[in-house]
Symmetry: C2
């Protein structure tokens, strides 16, 4: 049986990436109701907001759903307490060491998936006792590794290295990308950007439309000296470039970034001054769809791609 | 029928990338004899050497083979004259505009494939009248685009944009990568790095062994101010980094690069001072194989990957 479906008890091995300012209960429950696995992105939520989203998500779906927990988050222990209290059974951890909380989660019967950007971190996650891995390539949106390993190169390395369910992330837009990731050896896929621009995403309409109108080459991995992040080009991105050209040091960059840039851009729709996090598939996103339409299109595209590769060598 | 096989008259839609200091007549003929398409990399050859390689390749194989022609090469008109004289029927052009020579080649009955790193260049190539496209992702070795578009994101964009045989390059190491590329919509694949480290490659043994021992994250796309190139980290790469840290300008970088760095590294085996061009798959290359072993392994892996994805969703 497909290991990702089995692990999470879902119909399709499609995970909706947990994303700040985009994936609240509305998106997560819509994805889960459509047969994928929805994740509440806790990284942009205060503890009480986070609890509210979990409660609402439980009401909105009877299907499995999970939460994404960036381990660098300051209120992390409150978040952990809340998700255990509320009976969340699936946690995706990222941006930190899987050693710290994995055994705690496991004691509470919670399934833990850790997000990595290299084979070496995948091995460490295996040692920490996680149940699955998201291996995320350079082309992914938001925060990312600094080694720039792409999905094509990352997935086979991780698959050959560790025996766990592997979820491929980064550059997966449609059913073709899903079949490609599975050809490389992944058991399932995590899709972020396309769901970030869905109807149920809590991102601002201005941000969604900006992504819909973006072209190839419009995103860039930057701010590697702080926490590497893939951004859509805008005035703020240009300011970062200007700072680099003016030989900015790490403190200059910190000051330039300041606080709340992602909220400003993605949630409040300030396209000039905000930080606009999105993956390279941005240029393929040309409409705002519902979560269910996205999943139906991906599954349809998956079977079409399978059909068209069936005799491709003849 | 598979469009790449049909266009070139080959058994498997596997192209061996034309590479400086690696792919002379020996490698190209070995690949062609094994059922792929071998390419002589003319970019590192003086005109008389280039002619010699074509003549030898014709003696070494009765199968189709081609040449790779970087259009920035200074002796380009001599090279073009030679390849027409010698009856070469397949040319892969790169690093320049396809407008300049495509019609000349076509008048001589030569099939022209142009290498691009973005959808917009793919469209321009179509307009120039080429027969096929190599779409090369960010993860590829050697010279590359500056927009950093990865294979996962590039191939579906190009496939949706133009109706020509599409050859996917960048990050393809084995049959899994080949099936992945074809799932994305490519008709065939171009493999560079793995053939660069083959027995028949004219690269220096020291370079080959250095690649065999490299790890993930050991390559980096750099020198974007000159011509972007993916290099394996070594002392020379570190000097480039030091220069960047010391706020080098474009002239400093040109002076640092100098002449003949790639020859020094890849052909003469100077691992400290040489430029070592290789793709991100470097970390997957762990032995020196013959061209024929590589092709057999890729085909074998392709069918295995197809088998293992056949019921992957169940």
């Amino acid at each position: 049986m497909n290991r990702v479906k089995e692990l999470f008890g879902i119909k399709y091995p499609i995970i909706q990436g947990g994303m700040i300012w985009c994936s609240g209960w509305r998106l997560a429950s819509a994805v889960s109701n459509a047969g994928g696995l929805g994740l509440i992105g806790s990284g942009s939520m205060y503890p009480d907001v986070f609890r509210e989203h979990i409660i609402r998500c439980k009401k909105a779906t009877k299907k499995p759903f999970g939460v994404n927990l960036p381990l660098i988050y300051p209120d992390i222990s409150d978040h952990i307490k809340i998700l255990i209290d509320e009976g969340v059974k699936i946690v995706f951890t990222s941006a930190g060491s899987p050693n710290k909380y994995t055994s705690l989660f496991k004691r509470h019967g919670i399934k833990v998936t850790h997000v990595v950007s290299s084979e070496s971190f995948a091995r460490k996650s295996l040692e920490a006792g996680v149940d699955a891995i998201v291996a995320e390539g350079f082309e992914a949106g938001g925060h990312n590794g600094i080694e720039e390993i792409t999905t094509m190169c990352l997935i086979p390395k991780v698959v050959d290295s560790i025996d766990l369910p592997i979820i491929s992330a980064g550059g997966i837009f449609d059913g073709r990308g899903m079949l490609a990731a599975m050809s490389l050896g992944a058991d399932g896929v995590q899709v972020g950007s396309r769901f970030a621009i869905s109807k149920e995403s809590s991102a601002h309409e201005k941000f969604k439309n900006y992504v819909v109108n973006s072209k190839e080459g419009d995103t860039k991995l930057t701010l590697k000296e702080l926490t590497a992040v893939r951004l859509l080009k805008n005035d703020f991105y240009q300011k970062i470039q200007d700072a680099y050209n003016a030989k900015a040091n790490i403190n200059d960059l910190k000051e330039l970034l300041g606080k709340g840039r992602a909220k400003k851009g993605m949630f409040e729709g300030d396209l000039k001054e905000g930080e606009l996090e999105i993956g390279q598939v941005s240029s393929m996103i040309n409409k705002i769809e519902s979560a269910s339409e996205i999943i139906i299109d991906m599954m349809d595209g998956f079977y079409k791609a399978k059909e068209s590769t069936s005799n491709i060598l003849i």
